[in-house]
């Protein structure tokens, strides 16, 4: 029964996500199977969690999951009718098969790790707690939870994408089960590897580079075994995957007339602040990059509407919190110029703490050093709009995260930094992989990958339905 329930829960995520994907892509672009799975999962978890929250304002009990299931199936039906063109098939070479086997083994180990570890501290007390309480209250978080000062430790103000993804599993299972709740996190790891492989192929035209980078995801301890990693039940790793999808799609959207990826970018962008409060900073950065791409590629002004869904989610959640009288976060002082100027002396120690984190080998291995080399490669290609997008998406969140600590209300703000900086850096780490794979491929970002590679690239995406490419 448990297996069937899990199949139902995961199936509805994918069905709803696939429906949304076909709606966004509109048969304009050919997507590989890995891309279809990855985007279906991301859009599906986002949609289901949002639907649970929105309909939870109106109904609760058995009606809520029934209503959400009906909508998911309807979306799936839409997806079935608008099914995307099949991806181009070709036989993988020996190197790709070898790397694929390595990635598969790594995924198996991540699943194993997530089952032998418990949920991490924040995974239980910040995230799963909301799913648990909502399940016990008919699918809706009790109003008393938000106003209970005794539970302020669990951050009632945190958004609900991850808790309500867990809640969806609970509703299918018929009980709140901390063990099975963990299954969603290794799936985010799988989605991360799929995205790195798929974006690697689109960026460089070579599948093996994507597979190689996906294999190296496993060897960053902060991603696999450290506190806040993909196995701990924290929202940081899922947020990093949503950010990877957002920036990857925006990079692909820098190609002229590639609107399918721009719409996917808008959808992933909207979900960033819904996954974690820090996602608001990533949303600001990714939105600024989007504005840059719109202006640089001379797209019509209607593309600015891409920012609207995210703004709607941010404002709705704020409004909901104030209506529920949720307490304000106590970790930070009021953010104003006066506080900033009175705490300016923190900036240098904060920068040295950040530098220390970059060469924290047990946590990051040589990851940041490798990314620095990759950045050096890309600096010569700044005229292409994709390069500044990638570099901004990597560096600006780091700077903004660091500046946030200027407002830390902890008596020892460096302790605050020490406890959370590695998890904040995790948000941008997958973008570091995109930079690295471009550097490894030595591909000039501006020039499209040659068709004879037979990979599906961003450039090919807009013209791939021409007979020439069909034959290739």
């Amino acid at each position: 029964m448990t297996a069937l329930a899990l199949l139902g829960a995961f199936g509805t995520f994918f069905v709803a996500g696939y429906g949304l994907l076909t709606f966004l892509v509109r048969r304009e672009t050919r997507f590989s199977l890995t891309e279809q799975i990855a985007f279906s999962w991301l859009l599906g978890t986002g949609a289901v969690s949002l639907l649970l929250w929105i309909f939870g304002l109106l109904v609760h009990g058995a009606v809520l999951p029934a209503l959400v299931s009906i909508i998911c199936l309807s979306l799936g039906l839409v997806g079935w009718r608008r099914m995307m063109p099949r991806p181009l098939r070709r036989m993988p070479n020996l190197l790709e098969i070898f790397l694929g086997i390595i990635v598969f083994l790594e995924i198996a180990i991540v699943f194993y790790l997530s089952f032998v570890h418990t949920l991490g501290w924040d995974g239980l007390l910040n995230w799963e707690i909301k799913a648990h309480y909502a399940f016990a209250n008919g699918g809706v978080i009790p109003a008393t939870y938000f106003s209970d000062s005794g539970r302020a430790f669990s951050h009632p103000e945190y958004p609900l994408a991850i808790p309500f993804t867990e809640l969806w599993l609970y509703l299918w299972l018929g009980e709140a089960d901390q063990f099975w709740a963990k299954t969603i996190f290794p799936i985010f790891y799988v989605i991360g590897t799929f995205l790195v492989v798929a974006l690697g192929r689109r960026f460089t035209g070579k599948t093996w580079i994507g597979l190689l980078m996906a294999a190296f995801l496993f060897f960053v301890p902060q991603i696999t075994v450290e506190v806040g990693s993909a196995i701990a039940g924290y929202a940081d790793f899922p947020l990093s995957i949503f950010y990877l999808a957002t920036i990857g799609c925006l990079f692909c959207a820098t190609e002229p007339k590639n609107d399918a990826f721009f719409r996917l970018y808008a959808a992933c962008l909207a979900l960033l602040p819904w996954v974690k409060r820090d996602g608001l900073i990533l949303w600001i950065v990714a939105a600024a990059c989007g504005v840059f791409v719109i202006l640089r590629t001379k797209r019509s002004s209607r593309h600015f509407l891409a920012l609207f869904p995210g703004l709607l989610i941010i404002c709705s959640w704020r409004f909901y919190l104030s209506a529920m009288h949720a307490p304000q976060a106590a970790d930070f002082l009021p953010m104003n110029l006066e506080t900033f100027s009175s705490h300016l002396d923190r900036i240098l120690p904060l920068f040295s703490a950040l530098l220390a984190e970059f060469h924290n080998l047990p946590t990051w291995s040589l990851f940041w050093f490798v990314v620095a080399v990759g950045v050096a490669y890309l600096l010569g290609q700044m005229r292409n709009p994709g390069t500044p997008v990638l570099l901004t998406a990597l560096f600006v969140p780091i700077v903004l995260y660091l500046l946030i600590y200027v407002f830390s209300s902890w008596p020892n703000y460096l302790e605050h930094v020490g406890l959370s900086i590695s998890r904040l850096l995790l948000h941008v780490a997958p973008v570091g992989f995109l930079i690295t794979l471009l550097a490894v491929s030595r591909r000039r970002v501006k020039s499209p990958a040659p068709v004879h590679e037979r990979g599906v690239t961003c450039t090919m995406a807009v013209s791939e339905r021409t007979p020439v490419v069909e034959l290739a």
Partner: protein
């Protein structure tokens, strides 16, 4: 198509192969210890709470029993939880107890030392469903509650206690 070699290409390959090898050398010991150090935990619905309680008190599969005590009390009254300042185990136990206390409202008291007499004497017993002591000594005037391992005691405030 013949592959063309150049010094730049060779340097590029050597650089990235070197970085990849060095990364693997640094990462593998850490990943290996992460993979091998944890035995398989229980698979129950409350397995994370059970693991935390076992780690902090030594009591096995205790979360369900803690919940059943809370559920036997009046839901409209608060659960009072005492933890010790500067004691991570006590704090962790307190937060786990607060998690398990739903749907009751909770109030956490972090005190210096191990005697909460002052704070308890100021409370109205009619508003309290249960008191939880996390590595804190129960005052002798309060009847004994259910003890879980070493360091966690839950005193249900029945009518008898209030009198």
């Amino acid at each position: 198509m013949p592959v063309r070699f150049s010094y730049g290409r060779i340097a590029h390959v050597i650089l990235w192969c070197g970085l990849a090898l060095a990364s693997l050398c640094v990462s593998i010991p850490k990943i290996y210890s992460g993979v091998t150090q944890n035995p398989l935990h229980s698979t129950g619905p409350l397995h994370t709470c059970d693991s935390y309680l076992k780690f902090a008190t030594g009591a096995s599969v205790a979360a369900k029993d803690v919940i059943s005590i809370f559920q036997s009390t009046t839901a409209s009254k608060r659960i009072i939880i005492f933890t010790r300042k500067d004691d991570a185990f006590s704090s962790g136990l307190g937060l786990t107890a607060a998690y398990l206390a739903s749907p009751h409202l909770v109030r956490l008291f972090e005190i210096n030392g191990t005697h909460p007499d002052n704070e308890l004497s100021k409370m109205n017993p009619d508003e309290v469903a249960a008191v939880v002591f996390c590595r804190i000594n129960r005052p002798t005037w309060l009847p004994a509650g259910k003890v879980f391992g070493s360091g966690l005691e839950v005193v249900s405030m029945s009518e008898k206690v209030r009198r």
